[in-house]
């Protein structure tokens, strides 16, 4: 039967082995994968401003982006494509908070420049290659 020292060896050996593979993959992902998949050369100062605002206001506390966040409000990965810049900017500062289907959003007081930043961030996110997410609704495409 397995002895305690063998069990310890299994733990230490396995951990170190898989950790090394993980770190190697991380380097490959960050160096070769991410710049291409995310078009990192397109991360302008405007995009950065948008991301800072996204972060500082915890938009992810209601919405998801790339499918990550909370489940109270729609996923915004493709919002630029879906709604366009004008619509997005209207929603942000809408008096009393934007409310289309019952749920209310927070009313913000962004400057024009900040609103442009947020739009630029959405435009950038929308272009990231997400390996097929969000999926195309299969029933809808059959009907068409």
């Amino acid at each position: 039967m397995l002895s305690k020292s063998q069990a310890k060896l299994f733990f230490l050996g396995g951990t170190v082995f898989f950790l090394i593979i993980f770190l190697a993959l991380t380097v490959d992902t960050l160096v070769n994968g991410v710049p291409k998949h995310t078009h990192s050369d397109q991360i302008t100062d405007q995009v950065k401003l948008g991301r800072r605002l996204w972060d500082a206001n915890n938009c992810m506390g209601c919405h998801t982006i790339m499918g990550e966040g909370a489940y109270y409000a729609p996923d915004l990965t493709k919002v630029y494509e879906r709604r366009g810049p004008k619509y997005i900017k209207t929603v942000l500062n809408f008096p009393g908070g934007w409310q289309l289907h019952g749920r209310r959003m927070v009313q913000y007081n962004f400057t024009e420049q900040e609103k442009d930043g947020i739009v630029a961030f959405f435009k950038w996110v929308g272009n990231v290659d997400l390996n097929g997410f969000p999926p195309k609704p299969s029933l809808q495409s059959e009907q068409k």
Binding site: K4, F10, G14, M66, E68, G69, H101, R104
Partner: protein, 453 residues
């Protein structure tokens, strides 16, 4: 208890209880908002409530882990805690940082990164606090008369928890990279190093409660935490699928995260086998119930319900829906909430000298809480499957679908009420123990006569 200094554990346990009650309150706020009752919106918008719910969860669990360490490490090392004043300073600073963080969320001060919403300046305070804690624990072991595997696994787990907090404290301009390292914290915590903490506490409780030989228990502990890292490290890939990284993560994440349930299955078999092997004479039935509960429900919530949506082909459709929330609730409940409630149930009689082992309030608390959380899991599951079908497969608008889900949230609120009554009863029992006192100190190992080894 054997040592006077173990009493500091009580502070952390009490803080845990208060924060747990608060966490549930914010859960109700969110569940009502999902049903369309967002009357608190102007004071506590959803994003403040969700940050509070998730962070209170993390903080009460970590407070429980710290209390567990302050109780277990002196016992395992056969020595007083290195410094009680240091532990008290650490406790109060921990509580104060927590209060500032929660108050901040309500004033719109956060970092919008799920589970890591605590703003950067407070992160540094958290880091200092954790260093104080770890220093105290490590010095206790260093000065101790005995070095056990259980203490080592628990401490190693706590050290890794601290180290892994750091990648979450770096700013990246690229959102994909930010997300990549956020998962180093969130995933490698709950599906990695927290399992070491859980395994360490579980092993300690099994040694104490079943009387099975320490060597046998600790051998299997190594196997389980070995399985954890073997699968869990590369399993991180299941969060990378759709975040702007190369496709190979779909294969690697899919394969290795599918192996993750093995570690949880290991916990279940481990605990159930040791319990059967043991002499079943330990009087603290409530501690035994919660211990077994943790080992079993973690497999259901983390193992099975995790497996249900971890393959890339399924996850493409369920990613970021209420299916995820279903899994999140039962996984956290089974693995971490239950183990903290187990160690408290074990430690409180020894800290206070009051023998609340087997009372009806305690049993009622156990059953109501578990039935409640299972009901919530079912409600989230029904809502989640409906959402995936209507939104991701039939292509209906997000908000139109959400308005169809109100009945499921009604059921969720009913089940959450059952859970909350259970938790309140647990807290009533906790309160009835009173404060820890020195009269509870005994020289001999507790219940030594009952042990078979």
């Amino acid at each position: 208890m054997k040592f006077k200094s173990q009493k500091v554990a009580y502070y952390f346990f009490a803080l845990s209880m208060i924060l747990l009650l608060l966490q549930l309150t914010y859960g109700f706020i969110m569940a009502f908002a999902h049903m369309g009752f967002d009357g608190l919106h102007s004071i506590i918008p959803f994003n403040a409530a969700t940050a509070t719910h998730k962070n209170l969860l993390v903080v009460w669990l970590i407070s429980g882990f710290m209390g567990a360490a302050y109780f277990i490490i002196p016992d395992e090392s056969d020595n007083e805690l290195y410094s009680v004043p240091l532990a008290l300073i650490q406790f109060w600073s921990f509580a104060i940082v927590g209060v500032i963080a929660v108050a901040g969320f309500h004033m719109g001060w956060f970092e919008g990164r799920k589970f890591l919403e605590i703003p950067r300046p407070l992160d540094y305070l958290v880091a200092i606090n954790v260093i104080l804690f770890l220093a105290n624990i490590v010095m206790t072991i260093y000065k101790g008369k005995r070095h056990t595997t259980t203490a080592m696994v628990l401490t190693a787990g706590l050290i890794f928890v601290a180290v892994l907090y750091l990648p979450g404290m770096v700013w990246f301009d690229n959102h994909t990279v930010d997300s990549f390292f956020r998962w180093w914290v969130v995933h490698l915590w709950v599906e990695g190093v927290w399992e070491l903490v859980m395994g360490g506490i579980l092993a300690y409780l099994l040694i104490k409660l079943t009387g099975v030989d320490r060597e046998v228990i600790e051998k299997w502990l190594y196997v389980i935490v070995g399985l954890t890292f073997l699968s869990g490290i590369l399993g991180t890939g299941h969060h990378y699928y759709y975040t702007g990284v190369p496709k190979y993560w779909l294969i690697i994440g899919g394969i290795f995260s599918s192996l993750e349930p093995l570690a949880f299955l290991g916990m279940t078999l481990f605990a159930v086998t040791m319990y059967k092997k043991g002499n079943k004479k330990h009087p603290n039935k409530l501690a035994i119930y919660w211990t077994l509960n943790s080992a079993i429900v973690s497999f259901l919530g983390a193992g099975l319900l995790g497996l249900a949506h971890t393959l890339p082909g399924v996850n493409l459709y369920t990613h970021g829906t209420l299916v995820t929330a279903m899994h999140g609730h039962l996984a956290f409940w089974g693995a971490y909430a239950s183990i903290v409630l187990a160690v408290m149930s074990y430690a409180m009689p020894l800290l206070t000298g009051r023998k609340i082992y087997d009372n009806s309030i305690g049993h009622l608390a156990f059953w109501l809480a578990n039935v409640g959380i299972l009901g919530m899991t079912a409600a989230f599951a029904a809502a989640g499957v409906a959402q995936v079908y209507l939104q991701r497969i039939a292509g209906m608008d997000f908000m139109v679908v959400q308005n169809e889900l109100h009945p499921h949230f009604f059921v969720l609120i009913l089940a959450a009420t059952v859970l909350s009554v259970g938790v309140i009863l647990y807290v009533v029992n906790f309160y009835k123990f009173g404060l820890p006192n020195d009269e509870a100190i005994v020289k001999e190992e507790e219940f030594k006569a009952l042990q078979t080894n």
